[in-house]
């Protein structure tokens, strides 16, 4: 099953019409499609995307979870990789990491997310 997923990912990127690396804004836009199903809100608005760096053909993303007690970390990483697959040129290298510093706090949520949850 793992090799099928890798094959699919490789094919998607080979067929991808992209020849240039996306911008940081493009990456963040795509990551809006990665949703935390428990709350129904995407990881960017929840403040879980700590860093997006593009240098040459390398894309580096740092993600966090609201708590290390949550087992969903690797799955969210996979969802992020899948979401980005069509956006990247075939020779791009993606490096997505789960980081825990600084610890997540509610002030990292976006305005939309805070409004959604009733913060004034």
């Amino acid at each position: 099953m793992a090799s099928l997923a890798n094959f699919t990912l490789t094919m998607e990127r080979a067929i991808s019409m992209q020849s240039e690396m996306p911008s940081e804004k493009d990456v963040r836009n795509i990551l809006h499609n990665v949703i935390d199903p428990e709350v129904g809100i995407n990881i960017v608005d929840l403040g879980l995307v700590y860093g997006v760096e593009i240098s040459g053909n390398k894309l580096h993303i740092d993600l966090t979870m609201t708590t290390p007690a949550c087992p969903m970390g690797d799955m969210i990483l996979d969802d992020a990789r899948q979401a980005l697959a069509g956006l990247l040129p075939a020779n791009a290298e993606i490096d997505i990491n789960l980081v825990w510093e600084p610890p997540w706090s509610p002030d990292k949520m976006s305005e939309q997310a805070r409004e959604h949850f009733g913060w004034s």
């Binding site: 099953m1 099928l4 428990e38 129904g40 708590t67 007690a69 087992p71 969903m72 690797d74 509610p106």
Partner: protein, 362 residues
């Protein structure tokens, strides 16, 4: 699909889940035998082991596996390995001290792992989960050293109730903070711990019931499920499972307080209102998230997810009516349909995973 370095992948996780599943199947059969149904049992004394198989063998293994996946350390997987094997030892008819010892070891691993996370994230919600794990370990030690299952049920329930409550408190951080709500939660936690430890006494069990009712009301008022129930699809389904579970927790605690303890029919009614109505509603709601996270498959939402939940609640109403009206046949029928709800849940999970893998290939 990569796992973090040092972590164990699906080939190791899936057998642990299967061990837990063996405890679930034999635990349910033992429960049906207790209700008078003529079911085949792997060993004669299994009817006495329904509680340990369900709480320690099944739920303990699943929760232990979740925590190991979250931690990403190999040693953490020893927890669900111990409890999974302990369940198998019980169902095969080995002396129960063998299975009980395995449960002590497995819960000690969970307690250690949860404490490590708490030391990194010193928040009330982590303390709650540590106390839940400690309650399980304490209950297992007491059971190993000769206390009957009925003497440790409050501690085992605290394991499940506090693990769930801790996770819900963590998620409530998405909402504007309410220092009052947090203080009330801490108070409820103290009452639950004291009541759980003193549940052998008349005052203790009443205190325990008050704690459970307090928690149910807190969750109904504070949990993000009040908002997420207005969303669509899977998010709404999870919220419906949560909210209906909280209602069952309230009903169970009110029954406990009305009965003044767990004597007679109250034992079956209160325990199952909480363990089926509350805990299994949580299981149904979180399976579509946790199962994919642990075994790395897709489990797409479908409206039919509601069907096992409906059967679960309807059958529980029937079972409790049988308890309340002193109609043992009604209780037994309700229990049989509880088992049917679990079968439906498993079939639903399998069919969703198949649908997910077909969609992935297209």
């Amino acid at each position: 699909m990569a796992v973090r370095s040092g972590d164990l992948g699906v080939p190791f996780r899936l057998p642990l889940l299967i061990l837990g599943f063996a405890s679930l199947v034999s635990g349910v059969l033992a429960g049906l035998a207790r209700l008078g149904w003529a079911v085949p049992l792997p060993s004669a004394q299994l009817a006495l082991l329904h509680g340990p198989l369900m709480v320690c063998g099944f739920l303990g293994t699943v929760i232990g596996l979740e925590r190991a996946v979250a931690l990403g350390y190999r040693w953490a997987y020893a927890g669900p390995l111990f409890t999974g094997l302990g369940g198998v030892a019980l169902l095969l008819g080995f002396p129960s001290s063998a299975g009980a010892s395995a449960m002590v070891l497995g819960s000690a691993v969970l307690f250690t792992g949860t404490t490590l996370i708490m030391l990194r994230q010193r928040e009330l919600f982590m303390v709650t989960m540590v106390l839940g794990a400690a309650s399980w370990l304490a209950g297992n030690l007491l059971w190993l050293t000769g206390t009957g299952v009925s003497g440790v049920v409050a501690l085992w329930m605290n394991f499940l109730v506090l693990t769930i409550a801790g996770e819900r408190l963590e998620l409530s951080r998405f909402l504007p903070p309410s220092p009052a709500a947090k203080q009330i939660f801490a108070g409820i936690l103290a009452v639950l711990m004291a009541g759980g430890i003193l549940s052998g006494t008349g005052a203790g069990i009443v205190m325990y019931g008050i704690g459970l009712l307090g928690l149910a009301v807190w969750l109904l008022r504070q949990d993000i499920a009040r908002r997420t129930v207005k969303e669509q699809g899977l998010t709404r389904f999870i919220a419906v499972c949560l909210l209906s579970g909280y209602v069952w927790l309230a009903i169970g605690s009110v029954m406990l307080l009305a009965a003044g303890g767990l004597a007679g029919v109250a034992y079956d009614a209160v325990l199952h209102a909480i363990l089926i109505g509350f805990v299994f509603s949580m299981v149904f709601g979180h399976a579509p998230i946790i199962f994919p996270a642990v075994v790395r498959v897709r489990m797409p939402y479908h409206w039919t997810f509601y069907l096992p939940l409906l059967v679960l609640h309807a059958s529980l109403l029937m079972r409790l009516a049988g308890d309340g009206l002193m109609l043992p046949e009604l209780r037994s029928l309700g229990g049989l349909l509880n088992a049917a709800a679990l079968v439906l849940f498993i079939l639903n999970t399998v069919s969703s995973v198949i649908r997910g893998s077909r969609a992935g290939k297209n």
